[in-house]
């Protein structure tokens, strides 16, 4: 039935499974990198970055994860200098975990200093859509 209301571009599967967004970053990544769009009503339950190759910029090797309006809403200054799973650090106090509107998720690297030669990782956000009725 036509509603005359535009739908969200946020991904929402029919199944009651946790969903995710995932994208690769490297030492050459710059600016705000879009992970995907949350559908209205989604709740974010997990986020982080798996560093698969340590970043070696001379000064900062950091990453924020959040939304387009609060780019560190989920994680602030995650350290990319060592290999492993670096989980989000804003869970307990974040006010960006739920919205009635569609929300764009972004990851923003802060890479400064002497030019790096290595660095790679996979950023992810896990969420639950509002479909469990």
């Amino acid at each position: 039935m036509a509603t005359n209301t535009a739908g969200s571009v946020g991904r929402q599967l029919q199944q009651h499974t946790t969903h995710f967004f995932r994208r690769n970053i490297t030492f050459a990544s710059t600016g705000a990198l879009t992970l995907g769009v949350l559908p209205p009503g989604a709740i974010v339950v997990n986020a982080g970055v798996v560093v698969t190759e340590a970043f070696n910029w001379g000064t900062n090797n950091l990453l924020d994860i959040g939304t387009s309006s609060d780019d560190d809403g989920f994680a602030t200054n995650l350290a990319l200098g060592t290999v492993g799973l670096i989980t989000w650090d804003e869970l307990a106090t974040s006010n960006d975990l739920y919205s009635t509107s569609a929300v764009t998720l972004i990851a923003t690297p802060d890479l400064t200093g002497t030019q790096a030669t290595t660095g790679a990782g996979e950023v992810y956000v896990e969420f639950i859509p509002d479909n469990d009725r």
Binding site: R11, L13, Q15, T17, T18, H19, F20, F21, R22, R23, G36, N46, G48, V50, T52, T82, V83, G84, L85, I86, E122, Y124, E126
Partner: protein
């Protein structure tokens, strides 16, 4: 189209849903690397643990490693399994085997010291994201 390249046996659905592997391990599996399951190429391991449903009761230590067939303690090392509960993986923050472009086998290894156990059961679980978010 035939590729003449064998496919991976790792489970990968088409949907961008979090996947898991789960395997029951009992006290009789001691010292053997039990296969938990298979990761498809590009999979990203983001969490896991061992839920002890019946405490392992060897006279000495009861511990479990979980990792890959190449690094058997890559996710957790010497997790104590002598009390009931969910013991989350302890090696994730520094693990170098959370991602690979190749298919991998996940293994769990229960070990004990001193007199052999007569009880013990656990569910090993591993969460992963397939490489299908493009």
């Amino acid at each position: 189209m035939a590729t003449n390249t064998a496919g991976s046996v790792g489970r990968q659905f088409q949907k961008q849903a979090v996947h898991y592997l789960r395997k029951n391990i009992v006290f009789g599996d001691a010292t053997v690397a039990t296969t938990v399951g298979y990761l498809p190429p590009g999979a990203l391991v983001i969490g896991g643990g061992v839920i002890i449903t019946t405490a392992f009761n060897a006279a000495g230590d009861d511990t479990m490693d979980v990792g890959t067939s190449g690094t058997a303690d890559g996710f957790t090392n010497d997790a104590v399994v002598s009390t009931i509960g969910n013991i989350v993986f302890n090696g994730m923050a520094t693990s170098a085997v959370l991602y690979s472009t190749s298919a991998r086998t996940v293994v769990a290894t229960y070990s004990y010291t001193s007199t052999a156990p007569t009880a013990g059961s656990a569910e090993v679980w591993v969460k992963y994201l397939p490489d299908n978010d493009r």
